[in-house]
């Protein structure tokens, strides 16, 4: 079909949300229903388009870019940057996940509007995020990738800053006392921009160096990953370029020790902000590693792999231990992301097809599970007006259905087999047993496997700690006499797809692997010849 093959459908998936944001901003503030329905319809149509793409996708050729625009579709001719987009087996699941989460967040916002209200701006920002995120996953040109990668910053900054937590936070070292939302929003923006500024320098360095091999300078990921494994980028140059890319992506993932923006941002953000952050924004970083860093600079990836692996397992252990020390349930889940993304990065660091498959299914699963966790925790704290686990307890009595869903999500998060979270953790540990030989550090990676396995136990520990403090036991004195309304319609509608997805992927991981496997195998084959 024409509109699929010439990139129109995929472009619509990317740009419909921003058009929707424009329409939402044009609707007068008083007409809230119109604002909400417009946003919902736009996001539903976008999701439907993404699903059509997923259905029409040629899974037998998952390692090729499909539904895209031609590689030479002009954009900025002066610097040879093109509007080149497309999806393969690696990006397809991410695109579907993005459009799904965006839609669910809008559904949830129908009757859960954080203070100070203003649904118009909130939904416009959500839609704008949708464009930025989907665009990053489909971009096949480094400049285009950079632009989309950055577009998400501003709406997320607004989301945290306007609708975020107004509690006071004391900032050590600087000695500031400021509202959580102000601190977190600034920190989020500054950290990410720091990383991406260096990422941009690396992109430019690749651009200029590519001229030596290609005869012309290119930002095309496709062309660069063709010449990369052939030895176009070597030596100190390659090392520095990888360093720049690493800074950009590692901050976004986030890897220990540049993760510190994450607990603040996730905790301070309003519920849908946390959901989008956890479910998708973090994946921009890991996706960048898989799509850009590994294929273009495979030799450097091999050199860096042990280092990345070390940071990944530190992240796993550190994140889990930090979780055990939390009393704020939202902050606990935020730290759990550090641990889970550690598993994803460990999978990537093995540089094997199993490891990268594990990373992608880990990304999808983390998106669904942590998205659900943030939704439920957000709804709970909305009911209780506190997130302090010392005061909570007995949700199974006061809010039985919601408690059950939290239990389910926590089980999925700790990697219970038959639920989605299992595959990512299990396979990334499996891959660490047998990492790419060229790394020459098999023993070290086996050590990572052992440490990672300890991490899974810690994960179970803090998730059970969360459940014990929040849902088990008798409700505390202050809650006994109160009436709580359990899961409402909007919540059911927003959560049911996530629950279904978690179970479906847990039982049939082929939903994800079916798309990713061929693409990953070919990526690894091309980059590392293994």
């Amino acid at each position: 079909m024409d509109w699929l093959d010439n990139g129109l459908a995929l472009s619509l998936v990317v740009f419909l949300p921003v058009v929707g944001a424009g329409i939402v901003l044009a609707i007068p503030k008083a007409q809230e229903a119109a604002i909400k329905w417009t946003a919902l319809i736009v996001s539903l149509v976008t999701l439907a388009l993404a699903v059509v793409l997923a259905v029409q996708f040629d899974y037998s050729a998952a390692d090729t870019y499909q539904f895209g625009t031609a590689i030479d579709t002009p954009w900025i001719e002066a610097i040879n940057a093109h509007f080149h987009i497309g999806v393969d087996g690696i990006s397809l699941p991410m695109v579907v996940l993005t459009t799904l989460i965006t839609m669910l967040c809008i559904v949830y916002s129908f009757n859960h509007l954080p203070e100070p209200h203003n649904p118009k701006l909130l939904l416009a920002m959500t839609l704008l995020l949708g464009t930025g995120m989907a665009g990053t996953f489909v971009a096949l040109d480094l400049v285009l990738f950079f632009v989309f990668f950055e577009i998400v910053l501003l709406p997320m900054y607004f989301m945290i800053g306007i609708w975020g937590d107004r509690g006071i936070r004391y900032v050590p070292i600087f000695g500031w006392k400021m509202e959580m939302r102000l601190y977190a929003s600034l920190k989020f923006f500054v950290f990410t921009l720091f990383g991406s500024a260096f990422m941009l320098l690396s992109f430019l360095a690749l651009y200029f160096r590519s001229g030596d091999t290609l005869g012309y300078n290119s930002f095309s990921m496709v062309e660069l990953s063709n010449i990369g494994p052939a030895g176009a980028f070597t030596g100190t140059f390659a090392f520095l370029v990888f360093l720049g890319l690493f800074l950009g992506f590692a901050v976004k993932v986030p890897m220990w020790p540049v993760h510190t923006w994450l607990p603040d941002a996730h905790t301070a953000a309003p519920t849908i902000g946390s959901v989008i952050l956890a479910a998708i924004l973090l994946k921009l970083g890991t996706y960048g590693f898989i799509r850009i860093a590994l294929p273009i600079l495979p030799d450097e990836a091999i050199n860096w792999a042990p280092f990345i692996g070390v940071l990944a397992v530190i992240g796993i252990i550190y994140g889990s231990l930090a979780c055990l020390a939390q009393t704020d349930m939202k902050r606990l889940i935020a730290y759990s992301s550090v641990g889970h993304m550690g598993f994803v990065m460990l999978g990537i660091a093995t540089l094997t097809d199993i490891g990268i498959n594990a990373a992608i299914i880990g990304m999808v699963a983390h998106g669904l599970i942590t998205g659900l966790l943030f939704f439920v925790v957000g709804s709970m704290s909305h009911r209780y007006h506190t997130r302090d686990m010392n005061r909570l307890g007995g949700a199974m009595v006061s809010l039985p259905r919601m408690g059950l869903i939290l239990g389910f999500a926590a089980m999925a998060s700790l990697g219970l087999p038959s639920l989605a979270g299992f595959w990512g953790e299990f396979m990334s540990l499996m891959a660490s047993f047998d990492p790419l030989e060229a790394i020459g550090a098999t023993g070290l990676f086996r050590g990572f496997m052992v440490v990672g396995a300890v991490g899974t136990v810690l994960t179970a520990a803090y998730m059970l700690y969360l459940l014990r403090s929040v849902i088990f036991g008798e409700p505390a004195e202050e809650w006994v006499s109160q009436e709580f309304h359990d899961v409402d319609t909007a919540e059911w509608l927003a959560w049911a797809p996530l629950i279904a997805g978690i179970i479906a992927i847990g039982i049939f991981p082929k939903i994800v692997f079916g798309a990713t496997n061929d693409a990953v195998v070919s990526l690894v084959q091309k980059a590392f010849g293994a």
Binding site: I76, V143, G161, V190, F198
Partner: protein
């Protein structure tokens, strides 16, 4: 002597006529807005004249081809001149638009104000075409002279007087340094014309003295572009001047300084990049770093924009610093600075237009008084966010591409002269974000100060001309951000002529 090419001179002729017409109209009419309208019509006509020059090849009545060289090489109309003249006229036009609403709230003269603005635009336009030191300095002084008077426009206001005096004294000092440098170069090469200096510079006997002259010229322009360490006057002058004048100073006057630097470095001294490259590398690094760090502490929006303009000058100077590398592609670095200047002009003018409106309505430019802007003027708040984020370089607003070409030109020279300044710039882009976000935080995250009456604030209107200026610049910021090829083409168009010089 050849017949004079009046088509090439048409933009300047129209501007010169407009200067006089503005004064006359003001003399014979009672409605002050007529003077503004005259100025705008004149500038628009002049802009059209520039377009006919730019698209000469496609127009039937336009017979001349290639660059037009007049007056024995002193005055040239090429891509570089056309782009920058267009830019200065655009800037003047926007400044007049925002002045109309502003001056009505004041009780000072109006007609002469527009007269001075158009004079300044004329000076800047001539500067872009000047290809020798004499005509360049005369043009520069037309820009500066008008600037001194405009800065002191609010003569009842002590700070405006202070601004004017400071600006004047520093301006004269800069001129003295510049003239001293020029006299050395003239003495050693025996010519004022840039191309002849470039040719003669290789055979200069006393190369040390020649370099000294070059450095003095750079110092002179360093003041004009308010680069560190010649920046001390900037925040005071910006704060004291009437805000529309500040907008002009930060774009037009600064732009004229950059034209001077570009012409001198790339046209007169292309053979001594090893002299001006390292000097400007240092100046760029200092301007970015000090401008940004000091800006973080500012509480007044105008002062903040003042320091921001110092830092932005540093970004524009970065490609000059990268040009220190041997074998650097000078047309790349040249084009990067021009592209940056074009985008900077658009976004900075837009930022000032919004700042003036909000500042007048709140009655203060202190940031804390601006808290909660979003609650009483969401449209203004959104455009404020757009312009400030563009200045910070966040896509999809035009500023990202300005930073991008700057990084591209510096990395592209392929040596540590470029890499190092690119890394400094990257770190500074992050620091700059902190204070641009401060403005957004006030506007969106904080609550309205208790003593401000939201109902009155909400009832305020944006004067038509100013909202047109905001609309125009906002549209430009978006279009240039999404289709940055347009800005890149301007930059390339402006640097085409360098290729013919064999650079």
């Amino acid at each position: 002597m050849d017949a004079i090419d009046y088509h090439a001179l048409l933009p300047e002729i129209i501007l010169a006529v407009t200067v006089l017409a503005t004064l006359l109209v003001d003399l014979f009419t009672s409605r002050k807005s007529f003077a503004a309208i005259t100025a705008m019509i004149g500038m628009f006509a002049s802009f059209v004249a520039i377009l006919t020059l730019a698209f000469c090849d496609n127009l039937t009545f336009c017979t001349s081809t290639g660059d037009r060289v007049l007056f024995g090489g002193s005055f040239v109309v090429d891509g570089y001149a056309i782009v920058l003249q267009g830019l200065f006229i655009f800037a003047g036009f926007i400044v007049v638009l925002m002045s109309v609403g502003y001056l009505e709230t004041d009780r000072y003269y109006e007609g002469e104000f527009y007269f001075l603005i158009v004079s300044a635009v004329l000076g800047a336009a001539v500067m872009a075409s000047s290809r020798d030191f004499i005509s360049m300095i005369v043009a520069l002084e037309i820009v500066s002279g008008s600037g001194f008077l405009l800065a002191g426009w609010r003569k009842g206001d002590a700070r405006s007087n202070e601004a004017s005096l400071k600006f004047f004294i520093i301006g004269v000092l800069a001129l003295a340094l510049l003239l001293f440098g020029v006299s050395l170069i003239y003495g050693l090469t025996g010519t004022q014309v840039f191309s002849e200096i470039a040719a003669a510079s290789s055979s200069v006997e006393d190369i040390a003295l020649f370099n000294l002259g070059a450095i003095f010229v750079l110092l002179g322009f360093g003041f004009k572009v308010s680069a560190v360490p010649f920046h001390f006057w900037t925040p005071d002058v910006y704060e004291g001047s009437p805000p529309p004048v500040t907008a002009w100073l930060s774009v037009g006057s600064k732009g004229a300084g950059f034209v001077g630097l570009l012409s001198v470095c790339y046209l007169a001294l292309p053979s001594v990049t090893e002299i001006w490259g390292p000097v400007l590398w240092l100046v760029a690094a200092l301007s970015m770093t000090i401008g940004n760090i000091v800006a973080i502490k500012q509480t007044n929006v105008i002062r903040l924009l003042g320091y921001s303009s110092i830092a932005q000058a540093g970004f524009m100077l970065a490609p000059f610093g990268a040009a220190a590398a041997t074998g650097a592609d000078l047309s790349q670095t040249f084009s990067a600075t021009v592209t940056y200047l074009v985008i900077y002009a658009v976004m900075n003018l837009g930022a000032f237009a919004v700042v003036i409106i909000v500042g007048t309505r709140v009655g203060s430019y202190e940031l804390e008084r601006w808290s909660g802007l979003n609650t009483w003027a969401p449209g203004l708040a959104l455009s404020l966010a757009a312009f400030f984020m563009s200045l910070a370089g966040i896509p999809p607003l035009a500023g990202w591409f300005a930073k991008f070409v700057m990084f591209s030109a510096t990395i592209g020279v392929g040596s540590w002269w470029g890499y190092s300044i690119a890394i400094v710039a990257a770190l500074n882009a992050v620091i700059a974000l902190v204070y641009y976000l401060k403005v957004l935080k006030s506007a969106f995250f904080d609550t309205v100060p208790a003593d401000l009456d939201v109902a009155t604030l909400e009832a305020g209107t944006v004067p038509g001309p100013t909202s047109f200026a905001i609309g125009l610049t906002a549209a430009a910021v978006l279009v240039l951000g999404i289709f940055p090829g347009l800005a890149a083409n301007l930059g390339d168009f402006s640097s085409d002529f360098l290729a013919t010089l064999g650079l």
